[in-house]
Amino acid sequence: MSKRSYKFALSLLFLACMAQEPLFAARIGELTETDWKIQVIRFLSFRDPSVRYALAGSILLGISCGLLGSFIVVRKMALVGDALSHAVLPGVALGFLWNTTKDPVAIFIGATVAGLLGTTVVNLITQTTRLKEDTALGMVLAGFFSVGICLVTMIQHLPTGNKSGIDKFLFGQAAALGPNDIQLMGIVTLLAITVITLFYKEFLVSSFDSGFAHSIRIPVQLFHHLLMLLLAFAVVISLQAVGVVLVSAMLITPAAAAYLLTDRMHRMVFLASIFGLLSGVFGAFFSFLGPSLPTGPFMVLGASLVFTLCFFFAPKHGLVTRWWVKRSRSQQIQVENVLKAIYHVLEDRGFDGEGVSIRELADQRKQTLEESVRESKMLKRAEYATLLEEGNMIWLTPEGWQRAREMVRNHRLWELYLTSAAQYSADHVHDDAEKIEHILGDEVVRALEKRLDYATTDPHGKKIPSSESIQKDRMGRREKVPGYGQDI
């Protein structure tokens, strides 16, 4: 929280310094119309070269940030990315001062050097003092950033030179990208993809288990520095479009979203690159719609949107997904318990008669009539039962009958197993079986039946429906359902 608030304060300071020079004045492309419909058409038709550059740049930076960000996230170096991205600002300013113009190569070199210097200072502090890494990162991040802000402000007040563009480095403006920028971004992205592809297994093993990587003669430190260098490159090429303040989010957020979707590193790398790309395009598009909208925040908004979707709906790790699975699981357990209760009612009267009344079910389940009515409707929805019009009689469908018998079989088999194999006494086994019956799979049931020598009665003397008879009924079952017919 505190980090965010000081970032905000610094940003405000910066804006205050530049108040006399309106933000949109230096915008490249000089778009005066603000009608968003025209802007959409303009964006989608790619007529405007600045649109094409913005789009290409956003795609390139999205890919390289996602790619490298994946490794940052699994190596728990997210804060390092943040510090690195802030530490580059003084380098950007010095690169600009080199010949007081926006020369991409000079800025690239300056920013990379400053970024790497920042991480070196962090290492120096952690190695020579007892301060821990998070403290060192926090200090270096803010220290370098302040130097950068001062320098940038100074440049703003310089009487000479073309100052246009330097202000875009804070929050980013994709429309300010030129052909030289795109070229540089292309080279860096290609380099990142090549290096990661060639050394994928080395990066994988040294990220997962550096001690082991060392023992198989992988130069772990070298690969660490290589990754940091690529990271610095990726940050620097992204600066102009995303801005210093938010570029670390483009490293972390797409990768974090990908982490929630998959359990395999190569898929995570791929997904993170796609998410980065999408966020980049999202940002480029929306910042184009209005006058002088910064690109960075929109890109990060796009990435955060992707993350939010993954957070809630990822197939395995999503919050809503997990809740849904749990809920449907508990509903299923309830349905299965009702089926079992109906079976017990039928069993008590020797599987004779025309279905089960709501009252009988309520007595068996020890609940009110309303609850039983509600539960019988659940059975109907699951197509396990049909209900009489007035709603007071329940007939199991063949599927319901089969499931009910499976439940009873599982329950009684498990009870028998506990008493005979695990020496539980007969009055201790019911509660355990109540839970286990819902999760026994076919394979385990078969193993249990075999283990128990196909026993037919449970510890309480009740008959255990055999898998064989359930299986047989699956073929020509209709007439065997009680209420429809005769036998169990």
Binding site: F199, D263, M265
Partner: protein
Amino acid sequence: MNTEKEPVPLEVHDLTVAYQKKAVLWGIDLVVPKGKLIGIVGPNGAGKSTLIKTIMGIIPASSGWVKIFGEEKNLRRVGYVPQRESVDWDFPVSVMDVVLMGRYGKLGLFKRPGKADVDIARQCLDKVKMLPYANRQISNLSGGQQQRVFLARALAQESDLYFMDEPFSGVDASTEAAIITLLHDLKEKGKTLMVVHHDLPTARNYFDMLLLLNMRVVAFGPTDEVFNYELLQKTYGGRLTILAEVAEAVRQKS
């Protein structure tokens, strides 16, 4: 057998290790014979893990040298099982991915593991009875299963000298029994195994030789000879506090 011709698996001479000027291992001398199952025992902070890490060059030594099969910096024939806690088990890799890492050392740069490597990895997983889990993500494994995966990875390395850091810590009894059987099998094949172990009673039964370590080598020899009250007292007893105090004093002066 031309065992006489081949240099011993491991020779360590006057090895000293210091963290920020604080010595943790002093003048370690070792000559380890081939085909033995060796336990490294000693109290907490005795430098057991540090010793094997330094032998492999993961931690730099302050002085002394290490020869593996007669050569310095020769890790080609070394297999390693790190401590289970040393890695993040939420890392996005499958059991198979981890075991395949055991093949990386043999592959060299730029090469990806191929079908032959996958076959070897499958065999190794089968040996530790983890084959059905090959495609699982590693975070779903129990402690014992994690340890089996690490062992399978070491097996996939097909090495001649193994270092294992507490392979029995936090595993269930059946895994412990399975591991010890596996270690004996490896030994029968002429491999040399050095195993960091923290449980004294079992150490006596598990290992052919014991290295009693407490910042220095207290004793190294056949289990029958070194597992006695006097030497264990020396390893675990109070006298080591003096050594620790000296080390602290040295650190403060320098």
